[in-house]
């Protein structure tokens, strides 16, 4: 790991966190976006659309040579010159040489992320050619000498006062910081540029193999001017923009604006095919198709889905990390979750190595992705690659490889910790302050103490009274339930026994492996998967219950994926996945036993926080709400109920505690505003985070697992 690089990255985080105005703007944007987006899709089937886009893009990726050839043949037949650029430098050199050969002095550009990717403006400048950005946002950041912080709204990080200052320098008079006025200034200032320029450069949102034409999806109208007035039109686009037919293009056009800005359609969709008339002559049209890592991405078995991206920017809009630090931290040229992946392939692993850790893994992006890309999964796989290339750090390496894989050693060390922590806990269940260099960890949230006796160590002494059990289930506790919150396991027994279910605790179970996986150590995660599959299936339970949704995802999804090519383990892992179910889902969907709890509780005001991996991993969010309301509690929804709490395991402890703190702050505010006296959750990680944050802020709201609340109902 490069220390200098890491230090610079931390510097950028600190700088962003010191800008509350930016955070406020991005939060408001995220809220407004979701409302507009929902409205835009109200008459459409988003799931169907995204499946269509995904399969169309996959078809092209699998047969890319064929579609590329078809596109080029049709484009050339329409009088277009096509250049295939292997690298960013190739693309820049081609365009700069073309401009020089034609005696071009001024180029007008409309928005093109591909040109940001290749740093085309710099290349043109060194060839003595002036490049003028005409998209308002791009022009603003060009004047400021910055790079875009969002793919669709490049200057989203700037405020009208800053824009006024930049524009004043251009016009030489003091321009008032009034948005309508500033837009008018841009209109007037850039107008002459279109008329004077000898070359116009655009990007393209889509390239249609069937016709050899391109489509531009825009709002301002500048791309229409750029592609009309100058004699030469160059469109720079990634090869992944190719789709087979006009129908495929139409599907993207009906999805992209809705998912990017919540518009039914942008002001302009422009289809350009071939060299069209220009004055008394014919226009010269060049299409520069950029590879620059795209072929490598198409070949990558774990990452190739990222090529489906249609560059809507939604993954950033909904990302709690993006909303906290913005695109200049969470991105390189491309930003947000997709930016991490594209950066690795287009600009190199080194450029992606820091931001790949910035993802908290909440999967908010996955639910809104219009191309059905499992961004989180791809990011995890990149972490693994970087872990291989650069190492995951000596400390982690010892913990994961030497300690965690050795269950007895791992568990003995935790037991020892429960004794060693005495001086800081004073025997209490929470740690409010830590000494010395650990102190920053408890500045903004308390931490739970390791329980004196773990769940596994007291299991056999917990009485279970069922004469004829309906089911025999095994509990996969996970580390938090086992060592931090054993009382949750005891409550689970109480609830299950009431429902005539007997629960066992297989003693050989170990950590689910997610902490290792998230840190880029897949090898340890696979070793743990094998241990857990063997342990959990040993007594052939009817079901395996979980109280932690991150463990649930590991058992339901990751183990199957890790072991699918292993003849010894594949079938067992599949069996394990099939019988694994979260506790609330088990009660509601498997037992149909909601009514057992009917009216047993006082009408306490409870608000529900959706754990990321329960809602967006297991698809469970109705079930706990149903249980809580049926039990007699009054459910009051908080704002952003399904927004991440900022925990993310080691994310909040070691890798990004300062970002975690901010995200937790947002959540605490939403909980307070709900007016509830209790927040229900179904994840021990969220429990740790929320209890810690509420306690530190002295907010009198208790945090309870749904299972704990059901156990209360039975008391």
């Amino acid at each position: 790991m490069s220390k200098i690089r890491a230090k610079e990255y931390q510097g950028r985080i600190d700088q962003a966190l010191a800008n509350p105005k930016l955070q406020d703007a991005l939060h408001k944007f995220g809220d407004a976006f979701l409302i507009a987006r929902e409205k835009a899709f109200s008459d459409y089937d988003f799931e169907a659309l995204r499946e269509e886009i995904a399969s169309c893009k996959d078809e092209v990726a699998e047969n890319r040579q064929q579609y590329l050839e078809q596109f080029i043949t049709n484009a050339e037949a329409a009088g277009t010159t096509v250049y295939l650029a292997k690298t960013a430098d190739d693309a820049n050199a081609y365009i700069a040489k073309l401009a020089q050969d034609r005696g071009v002095k001024l180029v007008v550009k409309s928005k093109s992320m591909a040109s940001e990717e290749t740093h085309l403006n710099r290349a043109l400048e060194s060839a003595g050619i002036e490049a003028l950005e005409t998209d308002l946002g791009e022009w603003i950041i060009q004047l400021a000498g910055q790079r875009p912080s969002h793919m669709v709204m490049p200057a989203i990080h700037m405020f009208k006062e800053e824009v006024a200052e930049l524009f004043s320098k251009v016009t030489g008079v003091e321009e008032p910081a009034e948005i309508a006025h500033l837009v008018q200034v841009a209109r007037e200032q850039l107008r002459q540029g279109y008329l004077d320029a000898d070359m116009g450069i655009t990007g393209a949102n889509i390239a249609v193999a069937e016709t050899g034409g391109i489509a531009l999806v825009t709002n301002e109208g500048n791309a229409r001017l750029v592609s009309t007035l100058p004699k030469i039109h160059v469109a720079l686009l990634g090869v992944e923009k190719i789709v087979p037919t006009i129908e495929d293009a139409a599907t993207i056009i009906r999805t992209l604006p809705k998912n990017a800005t919540g518009q039914l359609l942008t002001s302009y969709v422009t289809w350009i095919r071939g060299a069209v008339p220009c004055g008394d002559e014919e226009k010269e049209l060049h299409l520069v198709l950029l590879d620059n890592g795209r072929s490598a991405l198409a070949e990558s078995p774990h990452c190739k889905d990222a090529l489906r991206c249609i560059k809507c920017g939604a993954c950033a809009n909904v990302c709690p990390v993006y909303q906290t630090v913005g695109g200049h931290v969470f991105g390189h040229v491309y930003i947000g979750a997709i930016g991490i992946i594209l950066t690795a392939f287009f600009h190199g692993l080194d450029k992606a190595a820091e931001i790949v850790r910035a993802c908290i893994g909440c999967r908010a992006c996955v639910t809104v992705c219009p191309s059905n890309i499992d961004l989180e999964n791809i990011i995890l796989s990149l972490r693994e690659t970087i872990g291989h290339e650069e190492g995951i750090g000596l400390g982690k390496s010892i913990v994961f490889r030497k300690v965690m894989r050795n269950r007895k050693l791992f568990h003995s060390l935790i037991r020892a910790a429960s004794l060693l922590q005495r001086p800081v806990t004073g025997g209490s269940r929470t740690i409010r302050h830590l000494p010395l260099f650990f102190s920053s960890l408890t500045e903004w949230r308390t931490l739970p103490a390791v329980a004196e006796k773990s769940l596994r160590d007291q299991w056999d002494k917990i009485p279970q009274r069922i004469e004829k059990p309906r089911y025999k289930v095994a509990l996969f506790g996970g580390c938090a339930n086992d060592f931090l919150y054993p009382e949750l396991g005891i409550d689970l027994i109480k609830v299950m026994n009431k429902l005539a279910v007997e629960v066992s605790y297989p003693q050989k179970q170990n950590c689910c492996g997610v902490p290792a996986l998230y840190s880029g150590d897949k090898e340890t995660a696979v070793a743990l998967a094998e241990q857990n599959v063997a342990a959990m299936l040993e007594d052939d339970p009817d079901f395996i219950l979980t109280t932690c949704p991150t463990c649930t995802m590991a058992l339901q999804r990751d183990f199957v994926e890790f072991l699918k090519d292993n003849p010894v383990w594949a079938a067992k892992a599949k069996r394990l996945a099939e019988i694994t179910i979260d506790a609330a889902g088990f009660i509601v969907n498997q037992l149909g036993a909601t009514e057992v709890f009917k009216g047993l509780s006082a009408p306490e005001k409870v608000t529900y926080h959706d754990s990321c991996h329960l809602k967006r991993g297991a698809g469970v969010w109705r079930e706990p709400r149903e249980l809580l309301t049926t039990s007699g509690r009054q459910l009051v929804e908080m704002d952003h109920a399904d927004r991440c709490c900022g925990f993310g395991g080691s994310y909040s402890l070691t890798s990004h505690p300062d970002i975690s703190k901010q995200i937790l702050g947002d959540k605490v505010k939403d909980i307070e505003n709900s007016g509830a006296t209790c927040v229900a959750i179904d994840c021990p990680g969220c429990m740790l985070q929320l209890r810690g944050g509420l306690e530190k802020k002295e907010v009198d709201v208790r945090v309870k697992h749904t299972i704990e609340l059901l156990a209360e109902s039975l008391s």
Binding site: D43, A155, V183, G221, N222, R224, T228, I246
Partner: protein, 187 residues
């Protein structure tokens, strides 16, 4: 959807994105509509339905200064561009212009006002219904420039505040004119 329903949906969708929709009965109504907008020359490129209507002559007779030939030269000063439309989409309030002829592009990008004449019988349900026409355009000519226009030019690039009229027309006027044209392949 019936033609009346399509028309209703179209008007609502177009107005929702800031287009101004008006019904006109004859060429005189068009002249009356355009005249007060014309603070500079009116750009009127050649287009089939306008030619049949004698639109340019009527505007000239109505005292409107026209920019008809060499639109590039007049581009900077023109205040209004007047065109027809091939067809429209009800779902999004979009007008579609086959804009391969450069004059059509100039008249619809540079002036502050774009006045577009549309026969309401050419309102289709949505963009998917247009795909066969798109294919016909491509078959008829390998080189073309097609434009979907939905409302006036807009931006939200400064503080996400929606602002109308950044580079393209600040106002889009759609004049619904029955009997103007029933051919989706012509403007």
């Amino acid at each position: 959807m019936s033609q009346t329903a399509l028309q209703k949906t179209f008007c609502a969708a177009a107005e929702a994105v800031g287009a101004e929709v008006t019904f006109v009965a004859d060429v005189k109504a068009v002249v009356d509509y355009v005249k007060p907008l014309a603070t500079g020359p009116v750009m009127i490129p050649q287009f089939a339905s306008g030619e049949r209507l004698g639109l340019a002559t009527a505007l000239k007779a109505g005292g409107v200064a026209l920019s008809q030939s060499n639109l590039r030269q007049g581009a900077a000063t023109a205040s209004v561009g007047v065109t027809g439309a091939n067809f429209a989409f009800a779902a999004t309030g979009t007008v579609v212009l086959e804009s391969t002829a450069e004059d059509i592009r100039l008249a619809t990008t540079l002036p502050e006002h774009h006045v577009v004449l549309l026969d309401p019988s050419k309102i289709l349900t949505d963009d998917l219904a247009a795909v066969p026409y798109l294919r016909t355009f491509h078959n008829n000519s390998p080189r073309n420039y097609l434009a979907y226009i939905t409302g006036p030019s807009r931006t939200a690039d400064i503080e996400r505040v929606l602002t109308i009229g950044v580079h393209g027309p600040k106002r889009l006027h759609i004049l619904l004119f029955s009997g103007l044209s029933n051919d989706p392949l012509e403007i």
